[in-house]
């Protein structure tokens, strides 16, 4: 069963690498969104530095949402999803494998690209480790919560936009704790304050690791049958 589970993750990574859709496109979108901000509010370096952590987190959320749409839909369209449901791997783990694949092809590249964008927004280099750590802790939650929206809207026409609307409220706690962890580190607060936000963020991620697959599997069952 673990063999099949990993085979599914490997298949998703392979497809992402060949089609070039997921990860590369999400990083590109991340870059464009962040670049649009100075054009909107002006290039003053101190202003950009102040809003940089929040901007990067919002851009991370949006890029993650953008890639949710295809998560189950591609497999639904070509009949793969039916067969995935008939394996010995429970549907909850199918969802978990898809979420892990999504994190590895979307969340992780975005976290790695974040320092580059931080530089462009004049973010203090000293705040980078805290920001990246927070993103690394929070990004899996984006994938594991995102699968719920993707599962609920599989087979729905224009499901992509609907999935974004459904998932965005679930993303907000991740945004709040993620930004506050980076902010606290930036403002030079004692490590305890940033640490607290980080722990809360980790708690949200851990909860999402359970809720996401269970809820998404239930949604898929309802939509498939």
């Amino acid at each position: 069963m673990t063999h099949a589970f990993f085979a599914l993750i490997v298949r998703d990574l392979r497809l992402a690498a060949r089609i070039g859709g997921g990860g590369g496109m999400a990083v590109f979108f991340f870059l464009v969104v962040v670049a649009a901000v100075p054009l909107g509010i002006g290039p003053a370096p101190d202003l950009l530095a102040r809003i940089a952590p929040g901007m990067l987190w919002v851009a991370l959320l949006l890029s993650s949402l953008l890639t949710l749409d295809r998560l189950f839909h591609a497999d639904y369209e070509d009949g793969t999803l039916d067969l995935l449901a008939m394996g010995r791997v429970p549907l909850e783990l199918v969802v978990a494998a898809k979420a892990i694949g999504h994190f590895l092809t979307t969340g992780l590249p975005l976290v790695i690209a974040a320092p580059l964008l931080g530089l462009m927004l004049n973010l203090d280099v000293a705040a980078f480790p805290a920001l990246m750590l927070a993103m690394l802790v929070g990004a899996p939650a984006l994938s594991f919560l995102g699968v719920i929206g993707a599962g609920l809207t599989v087979g729905v026409r224009r499901g992509g936009l609907l999935a974004s609307l459904l998932v965005l409220p679930f993303y907000l706690p991740v945004l709040i704790f993620g930004v506050s962890a980076a902010r606290a580190a930036m403002a030079g607060f004692p490590a305890g304050v940033a640490g607290q936000s980080l722990l809360l963020l980790a708690a949200v991620t851990l909860v999402s690791l359970v809720i996401g697959p269970v809820a998404a599997a239930a949604a898929l069952r309802a939509n498939l049958r």
Partner: protein, 211 residues
Amino acid sequence: MTTSELRLSASDLACERGGRLVFDGLSFAIGSGEALVLTGPNGSGKSSLLRQIAGLLESADGALRVEGGDPELTLAEQTHYLGHLDAAKPAMTVAETLQFWAAWFGGASGAAPAVAAALDGMGLAALADLPVAYLSAGQKRRLALARLLAAPRPLWLLDEPTVGLDTASIARLGLAMQAHLTNGGLIIAATHLDLGLAGARTLRLGAERAA
């Protein structure tokens, strides 16, 4: 497989799609080495029945009973379902597709020889390294059929398996099905074509409504 022979029986099955009763009061039984051919006009519920057996569609009424088989597995986990869609990604090669499905449907057992045999069985060996994107509709159908050979499962549910196949491929399919029955497998197939299965029973759906 060390498990006992699988036997499947349905009693008073009913199917409802979009508020319309497609069929009801449907009963049949099928045992090891037997084949059941579903016939009937379009919309008589052949595809729906297959999806119900595969666990992909809820029955409105009635029950499916399983005897024997592997007691630790559900019916769906002992079943191969071949629907209208081929479940193959254009970006993956023929061999990769089959390896994935073998890993997915088979247990932990090594799949490499089974995959090679399945490619051979459907005449796909020469195409193994080609991306699925390059295949014709019939070749993709053969790839979907090869899935059934790559991982052993006792019950085959086939929905119009011959669509898009040329005569040579239909002959290959016939051989594969006969071999499956000889090994104690079960086949339920919806088709308009005579599959040439020896001793297959026929279940006609929706006859009274069509008349």
